[in-house]
């Protein structure tokens, strides 16, 4: 008994150490900077400044709004797609899965940069339009294209958990529903949808969380004109000429709390019925 216990400690030690150094310590730094001034004395001013600064607030609510839009659009695309994907034969399912995963094999920076090249003023699409005698279109620099960028990047995180929970629904339940008088639409509504809620909730979290803290996509797609909260944090830490770790850490801390709250809300929903089938994050 004792032996196995000490053995466990030895085995766990590297992971505990790793977590401590690379997760807990940085977190403590964030908290430290958030509650101190530039010369290291304790203060609440950073938090107060953040919430009373109109510029920060605009950026903050913009991030929330874009993230909600991106999540909703991803869900609307992903659910029917996942349903259809679960209906086709096994080899087509594998093929579709591969296509969904394919963009994820590329780095986000490379993906986003490629899209910027495709959509910019003298980019691929506009060159094509001009070659057939049409006016070029200004794609970049608006909210729509940034939300598109987020949907494009994070859609797989919505599809995978939903697909996994839909395909786990026992086929005999669908037959039972059919047998009891439900047509296909009724079966989706009364059986598949309620049973795939855990997948939908994981999908929502897995898309909303990275969206709300997005940076880079917004900068690339708007030439730095539309900022999201992630861009502001990046600026504060190392892009601006005078780095301000304290306000950067404050915004990070607020963002983390928002994410924790949204996770808690989602978990509350999925607690109501402890169906397995979703991806737990």
């Amino acid at each position: 008994m004792n032996k196995t216990k000490s053995g466990q400690v030895v085995l766990n030690a590297p992971y505990l150490l790793w977590s401590a150094i690379f997760i807990v310590v940085p977190l403590l730094f964030v908290v430290y900077y958030a509650f101190t001034t530039a010369n290291g004395s304790f203060t609440f001013n950073n938090i107060i400044n953040f919430f009373t600064n109109e510029q920060y607030m605009t950026v903050f609510w913009r991030s929330m709004l874009y993230a909600v839009w991106a999540t909703v659009i991803s869900l609307v695309i992903a659910y029917p797609f996942s349903y259809c994907m679960s209906k086709v034969n096994a080899s087509s399912q594998r093929m579709l899965m591969l296509l969904v995963m394919l963009p994820m094999l590329m780095n986000l920076v490379v993906r986003t940069y490629s899209w910027q090249q495709i959509l910019e003023k003298n980019g691929l699409v506009n060159t094509l339009l001009e070659s057939i005698g049409l006016e070029p279109i200004q794609f970049l620099g608006n909210a729509g294209v940034i939300i598109f960028g987020m949907v494009y990047n994070y859609l797989p995180f919505m599809i995978l958990p939903i697909y996994s929970s839909i395909s786990k629904v026992d086929k005999s339940l669908l037959e039972a529903s059919n047998d009891l008088g439900c047509n296909t639409f009724g079966t989706i509504q009364k059986v598949i949808l309620p049973l795939s809620i855990p997948g939908v909730l994981s999908g929502i979290t897995m898309v909303f969380v990275p969206c709300v803290s997005t940076f880079y996509i917004s900068r690339q797609f708007s030439d730095g004109n539309i900022k999201m909260i992630g861009d502001v944090i990046e600026d504060k830490f190392y892009r601006s000429s005078v780095p301000d770790y304290n306000i950067g850490a404050t915004i990070s801390l607020v963002l983390m709390l928002i994410i924790l709250i949204s996770l808690a809300v989602v978990n509350k929903f999925s607690d109501d019925d402890d169906q397995t089938g979703g991806v737990v994050i």
């Binding site: 034969n89 096994a90 026992d170 005999s172 339940l173 037959e175 039972a176 529903s177 059919n178 047998d179 009891l180 008088g181 439900c182 047509n183 009724g186 009364k190 059986v191 309620p194 049973l195 019925d273 169906q275």
Partner: protein, 382 residues
């Protein structure tokens, strides 16, 4: 019993990946009957049931419901309900909502749904469990929910796909009786699928014995047992000694070089036939009084009786008797004319009915089980 036909199958054919599963099924089921499809795994009985339910469409042939061709009618528009092998209860709904499912789909008024659900739950002895979640119920309780969920819709036909196979023996026996009573009380036509011959014999009005995608015999339980059509049916339903014989003339058959009186006629003179003799119909007598003589090679005590294997000219007979006879003893066998049943030779001749080795039979069973598992996997892959 001159009731109208409720289900009619005409030359139903079905194959998966070039492998024939159903090979021309013709069957008529009368309204209010308790019909059982009986056969080993892979015989096509479940496929036939699924075609009647509408979950699968046959490659060829027609399904009629009350005289109407329903080939193109989807399952949700058929007045047929199913009890699934593993019940297929909705895990996100409680007992009440599971049972109410069919009525809610039909937009029945709430108060009517409530009354009917309560009535159904009373009928299956589940009153008071309305709010329970499905996964908190025992196997037997889940079974009852499945029954209530199906018959609350007053189907004309209820399909039951091996519904008792997941229950333990005692519960299974109780549910057999309950299902039979339920069928009598509601007058609903039951089509029951099982591989358990005892279950089939004890519950059904009509038994349909199937093998290799074909119907081997249709008849009452007594007919199936007493007058099997071929060696397969004789072996599958109960224990049988199946011996090669020659029909000398009407009412006289030669077995092991000795003539036996029997009750069968209508065969050609000197036609080769299969002779079925049930183990319980053979009396063991002193050799001098016996019609045949053999040596006891094995004795198994089974509680009610002994199962004795007797070697007669290298053919092992199984005999069930309450008298003990020791291994090595020479005994005589006495067989009454009405214990002898003559069958025409079929593709199954020579494959069954010899008890020379139990292990052979076990091997066969294992093979079958492996095949069934492979088949189940395949169908899951779809």
């Amino acid at each position: 019993m001159n009731k109208e036909n409720i289900i009619q199958l005409k030359d139903i054919r079905m194959s998966y990946d070039g492998e024939t599963v159903l090979d021309g099924i013709d069957l008529t089921i009368r309204d209010g009957e308790f019909v059982t499809f009986l056969g080993p795994s892979g015989c096509g009985k479940t496929t036939t049931l699924r075609i009647i339910a509408g979950f699968e469409s046959q490659d060829g042939g027609d399904v009629f419901f009350g005289g109407q061709n329903i080939n193109a009618v989807p399952p949700h528009k058929r007045n047929i309900n199913t009890i699934f092998q593993r019940y297929a209860l909705f895990p996100h709904l409680n007992v009440y909502d599971n049972v109410a499912f069919g009525l809610k789909v039909k937009n029945t008024p709430k108060s009517e749904i409530h009354d009917k659900v309560i009535e159904m739950l009373e009928l299956v002895n589940l009153k008071g469990l309305e709010k329970r979640k499905i996964d908190t119920l025992s196997g037997g309780q889940q079974q009852r929910v499945a029954i209530a969920r199906a018959i609350i819709n007053h189907p004309k036909v209820l399909l039951l796909d091996e519904p008792l196979s997941a229950l333990d023996l005692k519960l299974r026996k109780d549910m057999q009786v309950e299902l039979k009573n339920l069928q009598k009380r509601t007058g609903i036509t039951f089509i029951f699928v099982t591989h358990d011959q005892e279950e089939a014999l004890s519950m059904s009005d009509t038994v349909v014995v199937m093998d290799k995608g074909k119907i081997q015999q249709i008849g009452s339980p007594a007919d199936i047992y007493n007058e099997p059509e071929n060696a397969f049916v004789a072996d599958f339903i109960g224990e049988s000694n199946i011996i090669d014989g020659v029909m000398k003339k009407d009412f006289l058959v030669q077995i092991n070089g000795r003539d036996f009186e029997c009750l069968d006629s209508g065969f050609n003179t000197n036609e080769n036939v299969d002779v079925v003799i049930r183990p319980e119909d053979v009396d063991i007598v002193p050799p001098i009084n016996g019609m045949l003589e053999g040596v006891v090679t094995s004795v198994t005590f089974l509680g009610v009786h002994y199962e004795i294997i007797v070697d007669i000219n290298n053919f092992k007979w199984m005999i069930q008797t309450t008298d003990f006879h020791d291994v090595g003893e020479t005994v005589g066998l006495f067989i009454e004319p009405d214990a002898i049943h003559i069958m025409k030779k079929s593709e199954y001749s020579g494959k069954f009915g010899d008890y020379s080795s139990y292990s052979d039979e076990l091997d066969e069973m294992n093979e079958e089980a492996a095949e069934a598992a492979a088949l189940a996997e395949e169908s899951e892959d779809e």
